[in-house]
């Protein structure tokens, strides 16, 4: 009887902790890997460790990023002035690249697009951590993700992810889910945002200690 009461109390507390839990805070902040210890080795094979850095856009950088993203579609990229999480990847003591993710509004929910980048800014892995929709799974297949390998920010110079028009390698990437076309272009926009942010934070020389 005493045991039953005890377990009832434990459940009661578990229930209470659920009911009275503080609401998840800062959902609108950057985009974190849900389990970095598990995800980093998968997204960066051969890596041995990683460090986490949090970076934010400076005032002048913010306006420049908005311009580069295309001001007409600013709403799609908001909010930009949040802290961004950058995973610096190491093999032994040598830095070998970065992993960075961004949030993007999708047709049925938030989309989280991560890329692994080498030290020159080329994509070595592409990962959609979260996407919602009837054919969402097709965007998470290796077949879709592998099409982005080797691309860099330069590939977006000749391609507009808002209209879907341009030349180069990007137009060759096909939407695998016709019922989620909005999300396909959202993913491309998210990728461009991701690469621009990494250019500002890491690859451009305007900041000290990239």
């Amino acid at each position: 009887m005493a045991k039953t009461r005890e377990s009832a109390q434990v459940l009661l507390v578990a229930y209470l902790l659920f009911c009275l839990r503080p609401a998840p805070a800062n959902a609108a902040t950057g985009c974190d890997l849900s389990s970095p210890d598990r995800d980093v080795p998968r997204l960066f094979p051969g890596s041995t460790s990683y460090t986490t850095r949090y970076m934010s856009l400076l005032a002048d950088e913010l306006s420049s990023v908005v311009t580069r993203l295309d001001a007409r579609f600013r709403g799609l990229y908001d909010p930009l002035n949040v802290p961004y999480t950058i995973y610096e990847i190491y093999t032994g003591k040598k830095k070998v690249g970065y992993i960075h993710g961004v949030n993007q509004k999708g047709q049925f929910g938030g989309i989280q697009v991560f890329v692994s980048l080498d030290l020159d800014g080329r994509i070595t892995a592409f990962y959609i951590q979260k996407i919602t929709g009837p054919s969402a799974g097709t965007f998470r297949t290796p077949a879709f993700g592998n099409q982005f390998l080797g691309l860099s920010l330069r590939d977006f110079d000749s391609y507009d992810p808002v209209s879907g028009k341009g030349s180069g390698k990007l137009p060759a990437i096909r939407n695998p889910a016709p019922d989620m076309e909005t999300d396909f272009y959202s993913i491309l926009r998210a990728l461009k945002k991701n690469l621009i942010l990494m250019d500002v934070f890491i690859y451009s020389t305007t900041r000290k200690n990239p």
């Binding site: 109390q9 459940l11 578990a14 229930y15 659920f18 009275l20 993007q104 938030g110 919602t132």
Partner: protein, 394 residues
């Protein structure tokens, strides 16, 4: 003519270092005491606020698995038990029940959330009764569903932010492949509602393929007999009752261990401070035996000397007590943050609430403890024999 208070003050001022150290000890005791009393009150009030924000004081759910929400969390919604919706009418008919709201909780597996998938939770609610029970809910944008069968959702602030949803956007229920339109986004409440997606009860029942519910939230009438109502609800078939008073008591029991430990430390600190007071005042008496002897030779009665020494104790304790209370006020927020880190569960809001009444109680305790400590040295000073003490100085 110089008064007793002034003499006592001057005496204390003669040995500044000793006086400051003693006052320091009392300050610390007073600080800890006022903070503990403030925590006692603050924690309970914060817990009450959290429970009030739930909107209901009692919950009725299916017998078997006592805590549906815990099940949702642990089993991804597969272990849910249901009650008949007719139970709502039976509950409503009970005396003492002011309002009831039926709730259907559902959780669906979303394979595209994280590496291995995640759970998407939904609350099926009857907008009218749910909103009536939580009058503090305000809309940031939009409003409640247009009808009880509407294919719509209302999202809590955090849920909308996470999913980047705005009014007019669509959401998608995984597993069931159902699309629902966002018609309202709630303002941030600081409660679990912030992370919740609300669906009209009948719509969620249709999606889930059930005509039953998982929970009934009950708001009692003011001054209703909670125990009696709980007992009557237990007589309904196949249900069990969770009372938030009971939940509060369980949490308070968990916290009481921590409180007991801190309270023991307060007692020890208070005892150390009392010993410090005895030591300081007694030393001061022993050093001033010839002076006390002169005072008595000039006609001072034992009672006058007793009161003089007691006044010194009073000054020491009052200064220390007031300084400690000041620190308690100044660092209440910091103490709350510290307590939040240590405690197994801390409700939202300030955990340490100190007001003037509490400050007065603390000061009274400190002064009373100090005066008790001062009895021995004061009594000793009062019994000094004038001739012997004057002679000892020669």
């Amino acid at each position: 003519m110089i008064g007793r208070f002034r003499i006592a003050w001057k005496n204390l001022w003669r040995k500044k270092a000793r006086t400051f150290l003693t006052v320091g000890g009392i300050t610390l005791s007073s600080w800890v005491l006022v903070s503990l009393l403030g925590f006692n009150r603050g924690y309970e009030n914060a817990l009450d606020r959290d429970i009030d924000n739930m909107g209901y004081q009692l919950m009725v759910m299916a017998k078997g698995c006592p805590y549906e929400a815990a099940t949702l969390m642990l089993q991804g919604g597969t272990g849910l038990r249901y009650i008949e919706q007719s139970t709502v009418d039976s509950v409503k008919a009970e005396p003492g029940v002011a309002m009831v709201t039926p709730i259907l909780m559902q959780a669906y597996f979303d394979p595209n959330k994280g590496e291995n998938g995640g759970i998407a939770g939904y609350f099926g609610v009857d907008a009218a009764s749910y909103a009536a029970m939580k009058p503090f809910l305000r809309f940031k944008k939009g409003g409640w569903f247009i009808g009880e069968n509407a294919e719509e959702v209302v999202m809590g602030f955090e849920a909308a932010e996470l999913e980047q949803r705005d009014v007019g956007d669509m959401t998608f229920v995984p597993e069931k492949n159902v699309q629902l339109k966002v018609v309202g986004i709630l303002e941030r409440t600081g409660t679990q509602d912030d992370g919740t997606i609300f669906v009209p009860l009948k719509t969620l029942q249709r999606i889930a393929g059930t005509d039953r519910i998982t929970t009934i939230g009950i708001k009692m009438e003011k001054d209703a007999d909670a125990g009696g109502l709980e007992a009557r609800l237990y007589e309904l078939p196949n249900v069990q009752v969770v009372s938030f008073t009971q939940v509060k008591q369980t949490i308070m029991k968990l916290v009481s261990t921590a409180r007991l430990m801190v309270f023991s430390i307060v007692i020890i600190a208070l005892l150390i401070a009392m010993v410090g007071v005895v030591n300081t005042v007694l030393m001061s008496v022993l050093e001033r035996l010839p002076e006390i002897g002169v005072l008595k030779a000039m006609g001072a009665m034992p009672g006058d000397i007793f009161l003089l020494i007691w006044t010194e104790t009073l000054i020491l304790c009052s200064c220390g007590g007031i300084a400690g209370i000041g620190l308690g006020f100044a660092f209440a927020r910091f103490t709350g943050v510290l307590a939040r880190r240590i405690l197994p569960y801390a409700p939202k809001g300030g955990l340490v609430e100190i007001d003037l009444r509490l400050a007065a109680v603390t000061l009274a305790v400190i002064v009373a403890a100090g005066l008790v400590s001062g009895i021995v040295p004061a009594w000793k000073a009062g019994r000094v024999r004038p001739m012997e003490s004057i002679r000892s100085a020669i």
